[in-house]
Amino acid sequence: MTHQGEVLLAVNGLKTYFSTDDGVVKSVDGVTFHINKGETLAVVGESGSGKSVTSLSVMRLIPTPPGKIVEGEILFTGKDGVQKDIVKLSEADMRKIRGNDISMIFQEPMTSLNPVYTVGDQIAEAVMLHQGKNKKDAMGVATDMLRFVGIPAPEKRVNEYPHQMSGGMRQRVMIAMALSCKPALLIADEPTTALDVTIQAQILDLMRKLQADVGMSILFITHNLGVVAEMADRVVVMYGGRVVEEGDVVEIFKAPRHPYTMGLLNSIPRPGEAHEPGQPKGRLEAIPGNVPNPLSLPPGCAFEPRCKFAVPDCSKAVPALEDTGHGHMSRCIRWRDFAQAQNEVTA
């Protein structure tokens, strides 16, 4: 639950570009959103829409060159209570924030785990760096963290190497490492995408419990709308490097105000909708067309070539992100039509 809307992270007009042989890729092109203390914000969107580049920008882990944050601010209030603009911090100051105030977990745990060190050593290293503890105490913290994330026999596991563990267990170790310094913000980039539903259920359950315990905020990047429904307080929908919709999770699912979001919701198979034997199979309502070319986005609304509601005005200018009510934002010039249509249905 949120703490009265106290803002932890505010990303304003962020632009992160990459220069490639073919031209400049505007991976993140004027992205604005915020995360309140203790809340989970889910970021969803097409592959290549800029979700990972946004989160790597917040961590200041954009490979430079070819990438660069060219504009915008990332205001973050760390554990010291002081608001800083991450874009302007020195690398030395950033190192104090990474793994301490903001941690990140990935889809593939081996991107953050080192195969040649025991999991205990790896967790202890972060604890020694950020909390000034000695090796012995840091190993104690590591053991506690492994127990905290539900790893059986943590005293024994702390001396094992990542390859001695299953995928689900490595994910837990990575979470243990990410949480060892009790960060204010956890960025989770598709943390359960590679896992089985049974292990995913375990990890999501764990993340919810830990969040309640530690009180951190979570920036949860995922493609899985089921996971969004289960984890998020609010949702940001990205398309072509921009935010196209933002709002409360129930609103987004019940009353989407952007055709891309509507398309996403219609395209997921719902459990229990299988065809009867002998009957024709159902058909998913796919969004037509392809992911836009980031090198040549359509001039107006980036979704226009795939949008069944498009009108000539849609290609004139990039629609503004407008408040449709109660902070539910949409970057579509026709959002009023959808609101009205829905009112007529419910009336």
Binding site: P152, G167, A232, P271, G272, A274
Partner: protein, 338 residues
């Protein structure tokens, strides 16, 4: 052959004209140890698996990772050699064929790989990657090949101009699509699709599911669709096979499996799937722990260590796959549950 395996084989549903008949398939990976590198044990990745797939049928294969889905799929295609059992393709036992004789079958039987990152050569352009199999089988020679590659790219949600690029220039989802285009390149009759949509965006997932459905109807394509997302499998498949720790737990028509699962493992899998509705809060069965090691699988029913219905007998008897209603099979000794 034991009574159980004979029973297992007889009870498989036959759907019209059978294209693929998998009989008691087994794949053990030897574990070597000690100074003399003796075989000290076996990973029982696939253990006595039997099923049939009718021509033009789409059959789902689901289960947690490590349950043997990929191994079964690859053993069927002889991308790895089975250690036991038969695979009849169009009536021919392909496990008995020589490498040369297999060549003609290879084009007929394609696979969409689970991990496109590992399977895309970083030094090859997209057009080389997709064109490679066409070249091996001498398909679409000359100018036609480029057109075909362009067409395939569009089919999988990419653009023709992508063909000159290298894998690293694509995001995760885009790379997965290249892998799919490569498998479709040689117009196969049978496809093992090993988690082909798991890594895709929802909007593209729907396109690919629809695409596979279109191709299937258009060409009478036969598909073994491996996945862990039951909702997707349910949509695209006629029947679903549920595996756990190398063995088949349940086989049923899609709808029946989802609305009326008869095996405790299927029940748990269905319950674990997140529901895309934020107003639904439901009690879920969280399976504790991981799938046990296939080197020393539990005695009796392999699922018993995580089964909430397990009784003493479950440790003693390997449950046979029994038909509990027409076309619905389960490998569980208890009939007083579910």
């Amino acid at each position: 052959m034991t009574a159980t395996t004979a029973q297992t084989r007889r009870s498989m549903p036959a759907t019209g004209d059978t294209l693929l008949d998998v009989q008691n398939l087994e794949k053990y990976f030897p574990i070597r140890g000690g100074l003399l590198s003796r075989v000290v044990g076996n990973v029982k990745a696939v253990n006595d698996v039997s099923f049939k797939i009718g021509r033009g049928e789409v059959v789902g294969l689901v289960g947690e990772s490590g349950s043997g889905k990929t191994t079964a799929g690859r053993a069927i295609l002889r991308l790895i050699e089975p250690t036991g059992g038969q695979v009849l393709f169009n009536g021919t036992d392909i496990t008995k064929l020589s490498k040369g004789q297999m060549r003609d079958y290879r084009r007929e039987m394609q696979i969409i790989f689970q991990d496109p990152f590992a399977s895309l050569n970083p030094r090859m352009t997209v057009s080389d990657i997709i064109g490679e199999a066409m070249q091996i089988h001498n398909l679409h020679p000359g100018k036609g090949r480029i057109d075909r590659i362009a067409e395939l790219l569009q089919k999988v949600g990419l653009r023709p101009e992508h063909m000159r690029r290298y894998p690293h220039e694509f995001s995760g989802g885009q790379r997965q699509r290249i892998g799919i285009a490569r498998a479709l390149a040689v117009d196969p009759a049978f496809i093992v699709a090993d988690e082909p949509v798991s890594a895709l965006d929802v909007s593209i997932q729907a396109q690919v599911v629809n695409l596979l459905q279109d191709l299937q109807e258009e060409l009478g394509l036969t598909v073994l669709f491996i996945a862990h997302d039951l909702a997707v499998v349910e949509y695209i498949c006629d029947r679903i096979i549920v595996m756990y720790l190398g063995r088949v737990m349940e086989i049923a028509p899609s709808r029946q499996l989802n609305t009326n699962p008869k095996h405790p493992y299927t029940e748990a899998l269905l319950s674990a799937a997140p529901v895309p509705d934020p107003t639904v809060k439901r009690q879920r069965i969280i399976l504790e722990g991981d799938i046990p090691s296939p080197i020393n699988p539990p005695s009796g029913c392999v699922f018993r260590t995580r089964c909430r219905y397990a009784i003493a007998d479950c440790a003693n008897i390997v449950p046979e796959l029994r038909e509990v209603s027409p076309g619905h099979f389960k490998a569980c000794i208890r009939d007083d549950i579910l």
